[in-house]
Symmetry: C4
């Protein structure tokens, strides 16, 4: 297992070329946030925008429009019940993040199935939270994409992989990740990342992160990094490491870290590693 260090940041985060524009840094849609879990998609969207994605649209329940914009006028809004608009948006982007606060009801399932049908070989797909549970429960097929990332915590990984938490050993995990055709970010206090060919372990992180919404923030960061950096494996690894390294910094003077505080630190953190 390869230990992740900040070397992944210097390898991944590139000084931006002068002759670039917002299109250079990718288009992202985030899909999630039902009537109860609107905060999840807000936190994920904050992470995507503060990571530097070029253009971000958040597709969520209409009741979350105003709170999204109260945090983030930078994100465009679309109503998750308007499937025609959702279809057009999904087809137009580089990266799709689905799952934060999506819920697991029939409506969520419909949206997820539609997105899995729409996604193309030119797109990166990040599957998080309830979307993982829905895939597991309804035995949905993860489609061929340019690149797919799953970000389960251990219970979600049990559901989708069939491996009980106590049996989640690296070899076994990698095998299933490989079968799923996806990079797997298996979240725990020592998050492991299973790419097509390697296994990595995160060395940063702090128990001050152990609070609701941290995973949503990570999913959004993965989306934002994948939108900007060509090497998708490195983008995922750099997002995971940055997320924890920022937390480590904040934990020097905070007992608990709120997820939105991590997002607000991303631009300053990345600046230190851009070469």
């Amino acid at each position: 297992m390869i230990k992740l260090t900040d070397q992944i940041l210097t390898e991944t985060i590139r000084k931006r070329p002068l002759d670039s524009y917002k299109g250079t840094y990718g288009k992202v849609v985030l899909i999630g946030g039902n009537h109860n879990f609107g905060g999840a998609i807000i936190m994920a969207s904050l992470a995507t925008v503060y990571s530097g994605a070029g253009l971000t649209t958040t597709i969520t329940d209409a009741s979350n429009q105003t709170s999204l914009h109260s945090w983030l006028p930078e994100a465009m809004f679309a109503d998750i019940n308007d499937l025609e608009q959702l279809t057009q948006l999904v087809l137009s982007v580089d990266v799709i993040v689905i799952g934060p606060g999506l819920g697991t009801d029939a409506k969520a399932l419909t949206v997820l199935q539609l997105v899995l049908k729409l996604v193309t070989l030119k797109q990166t797909l990040v599957i998080d939270g309830s979307a993982i549970t829905l895939i597991a429960n309804h035995r949905l097929i993860i489609p061929q994409t340019k690149y797919t990332v799953l970000t389960p915590h251990q219970m979600e990984w049990q559901r989708i992989s069939g491996i009980a938490i106590k049996d989640q050993h690296p070899d076994q995990n990698w095998l299933v990740a490989h079968q799923l055709g996806a990079t797997v970010v298996l979240k725990s206090h020592q998050t492991e990342i299973y790419t097509d060919t390697k296994i990595y372990q995160n060395t940063a992180g702090t128990p001050a992160q152990a609070t609701g919404g941290m995973g949503d923030t990570l999913a959004g960061m993965v989306g934002g990094f994948c939108a900007q950096f060509a090497n998708q494996d490195n983008a995922v690894l750099a997002a995971v490491f940055s997320h924890s390294a920022i937390a480590n910094q904040l934990a020097q003077c905070q007992y608990v870290i709120l997820p939105h505080q991590i997002s607000q630190q991303i631009p300053q953190f990345m600046a230190k590693y851009a070469n």
Copy 2:
């Protein structure tokens, strides 16, 4: 009467174990915030989340969904009129905080009665504000729980204890607290805490705290501390002392302290005492 000092903080606030996750730090629901008093449940929820509770859900009037998330995407939302969802949520948590901004109308009474019926011997119950008044006015029975906290100000204590404000002496107060089977946080400029066996007096605090919402913030902190720290007496004492000690710090350069400012300082404050 035992004088509370910051010793209670070093005894209570523990360095978080590395191998922990959000479930380790407890699930909390906060119930309150009608159409008029939405700010109260927002302030209480801020306090719970910034105290470090693992997972927080706020059950409130639908008109407060957006302002809740504008402050706190970290909290999940549930509509207080959906009693079925409320039932499921209440049954699933470690700590229930009821009262901030709940109001005293028929709907509030229905919700309170339901919660008092649902709460189990495995749960901590924090009863604040209008919930105390409702219990007093309707002579509701406080149920058996793992641990119950009442956080009345002096007038609310008069209502529920039957002791007029001028007669609220420690011995008398302790007797009624004991009969109620609850720890009582009797709020005044020198807050007293009546536990099962002892009486404590808060030594921190400042008149700069004398503004609406301070009690809501305290109730949320009590909930957040009880969710994390096994010794429930100590959790309550540490929450009360922290609330005032943070205020003392802020009062060095503020004439008045807004309740939400206290919550925002909790993570930094707790970090100084974690051992």
Copy 3:
């Protein structure tokens, strides 16, 4: 004309007694903010709460509930269309601020007439913005109160006093103020204050304040100071001077000052003068 200096602050802003609670610092209602001008009543409410009023309720159009609480969970909300609730609230407070963003339509007139009828000899009444215009246009009688303050700019003063802007000289102004039975804060780049017996001129202030919402903020500060400090003349004078003195501080490094920035500085500013 007496020049106002920061001496008024040391005379007015008192060190808070230890044995005090939120009731000690007054109850305030602010009434205003229609569908278009919701920001005005938010700015006024921010000023009242950050000034240190004990308990603040904002009565405004229902469409402003969420944005009010997004800024200020500390303020309670009431719907301006619920005249019964408005009546109860108005009768229960020490200070009433009416006008910021109220508008001048029939509904606004109804509300203003009701408030003018309800106000008692035990209450302070602050009349600002559109409420002044409505009084002028409909020749409403300003009722007897404990203390009444009008905060017109020069055009509003022309409307209510009948004195054209070019003729607004101190003697003439004082005479009309006296007839109206009110303290008049005549806002300009050198604001004048006409009390029952004296005329003051503000010496602080900066053109960086010349932006929409400054007057709403001042009205809220007057309300907050009158709620706390027994000498109502001094409370008004101290509010006017503080408002400008904070602006002067901010103008040292800002070309323009946003009204909400003034409110956020009030607690720190007042702390320097509390004796």
Copy 4:
């Protein structure tokens, strides 16, 4: 091509006269923000108010009222569907900014056509984003005004000028700008400004600005500067340069800059150049 430097700031940003009031600094309406793109008009409005405009009203979809006021109580709100109110507001102001987040549907077209009909020879008109696309697609005539500014990015300039991006050379661009009777701010990583008689090139700016919403912020700044400074050419040039120069400052420690962060720095930035 004249290189823009901070000399334009010292020439343009004037120390405010003591004897001034909000009317001195201009009235602005911003029109845009449909159900999906509400963030765009919020960002533009932030830029206008933080630039120092005297009085700002935002005409937008009703679903954006609350998020606008959550950022900016200083801006008044009007519903874009109320064309009568829109008409009155447009007729009453010095500067009209139309386009940010307006969209290109039939409703947007109706509003744009109405505004183009209403605008007078005493008003400055700033045309941005979807308004440019609508003018191009529907061959609308840009009316005679006191001063008109177009702020297209290269693709929008292609649509309205008929010049393909690869052929957008200064001489050709200037000719079309001249025919349109407008100052053109052609946005790219080296933004060019075509005034009636000269061509300027921005020398500030950073790829950290390459994120959605930057153009909305610039449009709002152009509106805010035109409202305050008599020389309209200089106002546009100073707005463009300030926007990028603030970004340069922030980019010293941020990998990406969020548009709203630029607005929040405007008052401090302008203060350094006011003479």
